[in-house]
Assembly symmetry: C2
Homo-oligomer: 252 residues x 2
């Protein structure tokens, strides 16, 4: 099942993919999802980020067997840095900014303790863990490097049926593939990540775990169209635009 969130007459509404469009539903997180009468054809649908998380947590150094020798490490991204498919990223003037394509785990309900964490997984979506590389060097806590406005594109929807342990992940710039990898090459399995994170971090419905980029990061520039994708889920597009004057002042 594909769970999306649409903007319908100015209001976010949950929906599930049905035919060549979306069936609105009452609550996509309910144990039994109740379909509503209204159906919207795909070309008319405005997709938002599929969740409005309270917690977005990402895995640090989680690529390749070498990283297994290090203890697992996580960082937080601001919940309000999450944006949906097609949302323009106004590139702040902070030096090198890179896209990272990642499989994102979506939590469906309160996680009381880590032993039940895997049961709480609702599905998977695609994330672009945008990172300001120069700020990451200057700020050892990574907060400014990972946390700017629009730095967590998420979507286009949640896929509930996916093998997360062997999913192809890629980045394309202006339609040309430039980076690829598979979650099989992550240092830790997605299941290990979910259990470890839940062992210390309070998680609840709509929260998102970014599992780490198995492919290489891709420098991005204003004017480019960045597409990150996970096979079996879909493609998340982000147009990159220059910061306007307000943002430049904001970044000062």
């Amino acid at each position: 099942m594909r769970i999306a969130r649409l903007l319908v007459e100015g209001t976010p509404v949950p929906a599930i993919a049905e035919g060549e469009g979306y069936r609105l539903v009452e609550d996509a997180f309910a144990p039994v999802v109740r379909r509503l009468d209204r159906w919207i054809a795909a070309p008319e649908a405005i997709l938002l980020a599929p969740v409005e998380p309270r917690t977005v947590v990402g895995m640090a150094h989680n690529t390749g067997p070498g990283d297994r020798l290090l203890p697992p490490q996580a960082f937080l991204k601001p919940a309000r840095s999450v944006v949906g498919p097609g949302h323009a990223l106004r590139l702040p003037r902070v030096g090198l900014v890179e896209a990272e394509a990642e499989l994102a785990v979506v939590i469906g309900r309160e996680v009381a303790e880590c032993s039940s964490a895997l049961d709480a997984v609702l599905g998977y979506t695609v994330a672009n863990d945008v990172t300001a590389r120069d700020l990451q060097v200057a700020d050892p806590l990574w907060t400014t490097a990972k946390g700017q406005r629009g730095f967590t594109p998420l979507g286009p929807w949640i896929e509930t049926n996916l093998d997360p342990e062997a999913a192809l992940v890629g980045v394309a710039l202006d339609g040309h593939p430039v980076s690829s990898g598979t979650t099989a090459d992550l240092a830790r399995t997605v299941a290990e990540i979910v259990v470890w994170v839940a062992s210390w971090l309070p998680l609840g419905p709509g929260d998102v775990i970014l599992t780490g980029a198995p492919g290489r990061p891709v420098p991005i520039e204003a004017g480019q169209d960045v597409a990150v994708s996970v096979a079996g889920i879909g493609t998340l597009r982000t147009p990159v635009v220059a910061a306007d004057l307000a943002s430049v002042r904001g970044a000062a």
Copy 2:
């Protein structure tokens, strides 16, 4: 005005202090707060954390003039680590854990850009920025050190009338004062902090900025009653209890 959030018949309800109790209101964040009929006497009121934030951001190294020589630096705490007055902290077995008493800024509405950030401040509350010191050394991103369950006690209410730049801040253990300071001794003023954070971090209603501990951190242990306070706001109590077996497994 003091804005609280009460648990009334199992549901969180906004309220404002009135006489020796709380007047329930429709929306404490509205430009004009509409009072409801119901009033609850203080001894009967169950106080929750005064907000349910999406973003909790704290200031690193923000004590004393020496820290002014360093660039400002921030960290994120998980929104779900926020708990209310009197909520028991189950101390995870992660070595030294310390309480830090801090003035917390509460944001009242969407902050479009940093030039309007100060106008978006709704008021101030008290925070205990609980920190696992040994984990902070082991995890340079501080995520596990700052982000465990229950590590952000907040409350008891939001005070809208306060001079944030010269507020006395203190910690008491089992009723005995053990640490004190004033926000006048922070490396950066509260106004500077709010504007700087808003320059790069997306903020909205209910979000919280922890301004840094002007006094020294206080080691805490199971069995203690920890009270952090800000003069002009109030006192936030947290009983500390030993981790139960489930939590021990969780922290493994």
